[in-house]
């Protein structure tokens, strides 16, 4: 694009004007608007002691400096869990390179079937930002209670298959581990990307 071209020059000016307006609107001191539910001060900060899908012991400190999305589910869940993770994956794609500032932690409510190797293959199906975590009772119950998450495992059928009910909430923590936002399975990738972008920007 040549600057000798008056049309191009006008376009650049308009683009610059638009950018500075946008910068002012989203500048410091300005109240942010959130698309998701704001849970600041309502939900406990990020704290846990779990085993990751590589068999390593991890805590909230392991992910300090990252925006963390925390979800409780189980891999034998064919619909709502992968649908929610797919939405989070789509939100990460919208963030581009900034996606590396985000980790999605999936805590299984079915630790008996969800062994680390199974969890590892499951995480890999969604992307490098996805980490599957597990612990056994009573630690799992205690962690769920901390986030007021409920779950229950159904009775096994003749083949030993069973289902679970579980909370559909995705808790989003800032880079200091403070609970900030809550998404649901029905939240859009655009809404999640918008809000996480603001958190990455230091909101």
């Amino acid at each position: 694009m040549s600057l000798r071209n008056p049309v191009a020059r006008t376009r650049i000016f308009l683009a610059a004007a638009f950018c500075s307006c946008a910068a002012l609107l989203s500048g410091c001191g300005q109240d942010k608007t959130w698309d998701l539910d704001n849970i600041t001060g309502i939900v406990s900060p990020l704290a846990f002691s779990l085993t990751d899908d590589a068999g390593r012991h991890v805590t909230a400190e392991t992910y300090r400096g990252k925006i963390v999305m925390l979800y409780f589910g189980y891999t034998h869940c064919p619909d709502v869990c992968p649908t929610t993770l797919a939405t989070l994956s789509q939100a990460l794609s919208k963030l581009g390179a900034a996606a590396d500032k985000v980790r999605i932690l999936f805590v299984t409510v079915d630790p008996q079937r969800d062994t680390p190797p199974r969890l590892k293959r499951y995480a890999e199906a969604f992307g490098p930002e996805f980490i599957e975590l597990r612990t056994d009772d009573p630690a799992l119950r205690q962690l769920a209670k901390r986030y007021r998450v409920t779950y229950s495992l159904g009775k096994p059928d003749a083949h030993g298959n069973y289902e679970a009910t579980h909370s559909s909430a995705v808790f989003i923590f800032d880079d200091k581990g403070k609970a900030r936002l809550m998404a649901e399975s029905s939240s859009s990738a655009a809404a999640i990307a918008h809000d996480v972008q603001q958190l990455i920007g230091g909101a």
């Binding site: 064919p78 649908t83 993770l85 797919a86 293959r121 199906a125 298959n161 579980h166 399975s185």
Partner: protein, 152 residues
């Protein structure tokens, strides 16, 4: 994308399945229903999978979807994901009526075919035949496309 009676003729059925796999969607003349967006979300190992589709009743009479089956899965059920008081679970669904002209959506976080017990390995890009069954002994064979785990 039909077809009743064809099921007992494996070669014809295979030919039909191949045609459908390449045609993707649409419906054969005389079929009382058409199916679009038939897809399965792939997950690793032997995990249960969910199948989704849009079924339109193109005939003049109400249609009742009673179930589904597949040679690729030991067990196929119709399920609905329900949200109650912040908790999510699945409930079985039985007969689903579709009025003439109406489209029934099996869609993520709603109705799904619960596909359990894979009889063979599946990968993204595969096509899997599933038979939808209707009241009155009618059935329809549909090719479902296997999509990635992060499918929307």
């Amino acid at each position: 994308m039909l077809l009743k009676g064809v099921s007992r003729k494996p070669l014809l059925w295979l030919a039909a399945a191949l045609c459908m796999a390449f045609a993707g969607l649409g419906h054969a003349a005389g079929s009382p229903a058409s199916v679009e967006h038939a897809r399965i979300r792939w997950l690793p190992g032997d995990l249960p999978l969910a199948g989704y589709f849009d079924l339109t009743n193109t005939g003049p009479r109400p249609l009742t979807l009673t179930g589904a089956s597949s040679t690729v899965f030991g067990d196929v059920m119709m399920h609905r994901t329900v949200h109650r008081g912040g908790e999510t679970g699945m409930v079985p669904v039985h007969d689903m009526q579709v009025r003439p002209g109406q489209t029934l959506h099996f869609t993520p976080d709603g109705y799904h075919l619960m596909l359990m017990g894979r009889t063979r390995m599946l990968a993204k890009g595969d096509a899997v035949p599933i038979r939808l069954t209707f009241s009155g002994g009618r059935s329809m064979d549909v090719m479902f496309a296997v999509r990635g785990a992060d499918m929307q």
